[in-house]
Assembly symmetry: D2
């Protein structure tokens, strides 16, 4: 940590900063500059809260050199994390895993039709919400427990794995009974009670980036899960809040190389929420794979114009089949491949 | 709702939009324009999800004319909501209510010193966290139940009311036993399980705006609480995510007149989180009152350089006394007054 | 400047950073930390470009401790700049100067009516555009030279000073013949050819903050003008790009205390562009004065529903009269006063 | 255009809106809804300024259905624009054109080395600035006319075409004498005097998206150039202002499919400015091509650690060679190819 003093800071003020550092058990290294003095705090183990120093008289700014997270970083673990799933599937390795399905489970026929469609196009994980966080209390809130039952049925029928969202600690227990991957949604990225809970449950977690979360904040939220003993975290870029209404969100694909440079955790991309418009999903899915994403999360509905939510960004099954074909070529161009459904030769 | 067709949309595509409107039980009003046709959906009760139409071929855009919220709007209730608190205090009326105190409860001596300081300067509500949502799992997370006990003690000693944060549905029960106002923090603005819970608890709720929430999203989150039967919601502007690191957040004071034009709910402002720097808190507190805020939330610590969190934005007691003096003059300039502590003549 | 090395940087890489510093004629101060080494560059005169160091192997980050601007800072000049205008008016001193008028000069009768209206309500400077930067080439682009002539006429009739925008270096010569203050608009904040030109012209300059400019970038643009020998720069906060369409821009009033803490230059606020909605202008004008603004820029039109541009945010003359009354009370509450028109007793 | 009335708007207010529409020569179509009335303005030719209506009493909102631009849209021209360049090169067709080179021309040896390096790796256009817009007046501002002379020399030696920036109308004349493509930088995207000038010069223009420009604003700025009679405009996505300092800008690759859906103009991407970090340039270049970009703009320097500007984001020549190899595979995966240097068999 570096404590930058004001140009006109007095000797006394600099001394007080050094004393405070010593008092906390660290070493102070004052470094006078041409314009102002900077004091280095040596020995920081990531637990020093800079705001104590910001509060001292004469201090202009506190600069964090050490990163506040630990277990998610390359310094903690030098090998990429590969999250292993039932049936031999893995996220974070050579294969790119495609998770697809409708926004919500709406009915048995709808979810089975969706599952068949995405399975036959080559997806390996079914995504669909049973518990739905909706901005308005008057919007469809999901089928709840019945939705979970239908997801289990869809898995039985198709062999697809299941990823679905938990909205609160109690719900997480229910979701964990069915899901292969528990999703924590963007709105809950900093719901720490939920993060701790899914950390304790131990199942793989798909953690979506919050609407205005920095990558550092995303990694810190992942750190909450790892700190509870669960290393199986998959990050997800799904667009951040932007100023242009031409797209629903601002899909930040640079997050992929940024995460790869800071963390060993895998990261997937969701071009459906990232753009909000069906016709942009396929080009941005290609781009995500080209940028290095370890997987895709895509909304597909058997009849988007009948969807109870997110119809505008859901692909028709035939559009999804084309997306799979095109992303397969991109994956191969960078020396990867799309993960195959179990029982299908690679 | 207005469904704008592409310039090259066919007659068939327009007809399908009209048919879908009719099928849902509403009336379609096609309106051909020079460049393109727009179809009006008449009779919308706020429950129609536009994405069904966005999914239809030939549709360029869906425009929402009706607002998606109801009970929070002036159309539902023509009088301003005045949230009544114990001891005759009220938020949303003529008086401006000042809530002040440290970021976290740290110890008995700290919270009592803080309470005495803010009480003697003229605050009427004590703010301090027992449960603290922190970006890092390694930061101080609050004293929990013990913190609540100390807050109750501070109230007993000073007569100040208590506002403190609940982070999850279980915690809300504990908080409700002590708090006069339950705070829902910015990170939890769209934690719908928590919103429903505090809606059912019935106690006044201070709902902070999320870091990248639009005013409409803030109002929709309030609607969740009202929809559960709890009308006592106080909104809070505390800064949104901006691009300039000169301040911690971008304090959006325009939110105050915007909320006033759309909703009958009271709104207060938090210049401490809004700016993140002690020396900006007082000018922005003055500005908030001048803009029409119904109250202020201010971080004050008896010894900011010893604070376990948010030291940089916490005022010294003497700075807070000056803030009170200055905002009192501003309140009077616009024909309002600062709410007085009980037993103190106005 | 501080050069932060990667945790795994080699001794050789650290040495190369030190050598590069020495080669540039500065002193290197390596400071090993627990996680990583930081190298301080001592003697920085603000001319070292950090990107040279970012390019060196092993470097994680370059942190600027010195500010890149000079003449606009308190370190260069310890007294606030007071920009003196004809007729004894001054911006940056005790008085708050109100500049008001229509978006554009539209006709002789319109500008004279506007000037009379704002003069009688107490404004001292007339604002109106002769050259208008418009997003669309098909929108009204201003009356040009004829507009300047009409502004001179309005000054003659009312005694108001004139502030009007220059859009390019050639136009700046024309504007300088008439204007008392030359405005550089938000879109041109980083039009360096224009900045240098108005720097050489010597007349007072009103520099509006760009739509996504940080305060540091605003100050650097002002530095361009001062570096050409013109110290008479007035900064202007007019809202930045935000994500919420509830307002036209996000009015960043915190910019006022931030600028005051970094620079001796005066800063005024434009609540008309800052909000974009007539009914929000007055509360935000009050807030700006309460936050410490040295002046206001307000759009007023004799008949807003006839305006050729910005009708929605222009005040009716009677609304402006109320704004003046209310901001006068706020100014007095903070120990300032609204500048009086010449010949009117204070 | 649709004028949405307040829920409580009176009959008189609705009538006044209709009268104003009629007065302007258009047709009014009032459409009463359940909550509020909307009035359609039929016959809009894109010249109606909505703010006149926003200023009328009872009006809640004005919604633009027609787009404000014309010539850049598919409605004006149904075929993609292919910008033809000397030597048979074309932007906007099947080939992806790579433009590469240093941020600035620094010296004869530097620019010739850079040109040789990018030429031998397969680029077809040399990018480098002679006139440099820099945030600080104390940063290197480019070699000016001498820089242009060196660019002409580099073209002579290598056969590469030249793209370089013009900063003001006068400079544009100089640049046009040498450049094959005139660049308008992000800071000048709304410098209308410059846009009109390059519109009249007739040479191909590379128009970079402003730091906080919406796609609609980018298209409107292009419209300024087309409206002067110059159809040869190439758009460029180079990152917008974001809130996360992990990257220099927020690279908005969705802009590519958005532009493609609205306009016939070609669009290229600049992953160097888009990310600001050398190690992210190659993955994001791959992503840009996968998303459908018609070209790339890449910073390459023979010795980035000696660069006078943008060293951190400049590739080493060998990194650029790898970028070319990888993007070539991506281009082929989507059925395109990288444009070949003249005289090199495809």
């Amino acid at each position: 940590m570096l404590i930058v003093m004001h140009a006109e800071a007095s000797e006394d003020q600099i001394r007080r900063v050094c004393d405070t550092i010593a008092e906390l058990g660290y070493t102070a290294r004052p470094m006078p500059g041409k314009q102002r003095t900077t004091v280095g705090l040596v020995g920081n183990d990531g637990r020093v809260d800079g705001s104590r120093f910001e509060a001292l008289p004469g201090v202009a700014e506190v600069i964090h050199v050490s990163k506040p997270y630990k277990q998610v970083s390359w310094e903690w673990r030098a090998e990429p994390t590969i999250v292993k799933l039932p049936g031999g599937l893995a996220i974070g390795g050579e294969s790119v895993v495609v998770m697809a399905g409708p926004c919500s489970v709406e009915s048995e026929s709808q979810i089975l039709a969706a599952a068949e469609a995405v399975r036959s196009a080559g997806a390996t994980v079914l995504r669909a919400g049973a518990f739905k966080p909706r901005s308005s209390p008057y919007s469809f809130q999901g089928l709840g427990g019945e939705g979970l039952r239908l997801l289990a049925l869809a898995r039985e029928r198709t062999g697809l794995l299941i990823v679905t969202e938990a909205m609160d600690p109690e719900g997480a227990d229910l979701v964990a009974e069915v899901a292969d991957i528990i999703q924590v949604g963007a709105r809950n990225m900093q719901n720490y009670s939920l993060l701790k809970k899914v950390g304790r449950l131990g199942k793989p977690v798909l953690l979506k980036r919050g609407l205005s979360a920095t990558i550092q904040e995303l990694l810190l939220s992942a750190e909450y899960i790892l700190a509870e003993g669960n290393p199986n975290v998959i990050l997800c870029e799904r667009g951040v809040r932007g100023f242009d209404s031409a797209t629903r969100n601002l899909f930040d694909l640079s997050a992929i190389p940024v995460v790869k440079s800071l963390s060993h955790l895998p990261i997937v991309a969701d071009p459906s929420h990232g753009t909000g418009h069906r016709e942009m999903v396929t080009p941005m899915a290609r781009a995500a794979v080209a940028a290095g994403a370890d997987g895709l999360l895509v909304e597909v509905h058997p009849a988007p114009d009948r969807a109870l939510s997110d119809g505008a960004q859901s692909l028709y099954p035939e559009q999804f089949a084309r997306l799979m074909k095109e992303t397969r070529l991109i994956a191969e161009a960078i020396g990867r491949r799309i993960a195959q459904p179990a029982g299908v030769p690679a």
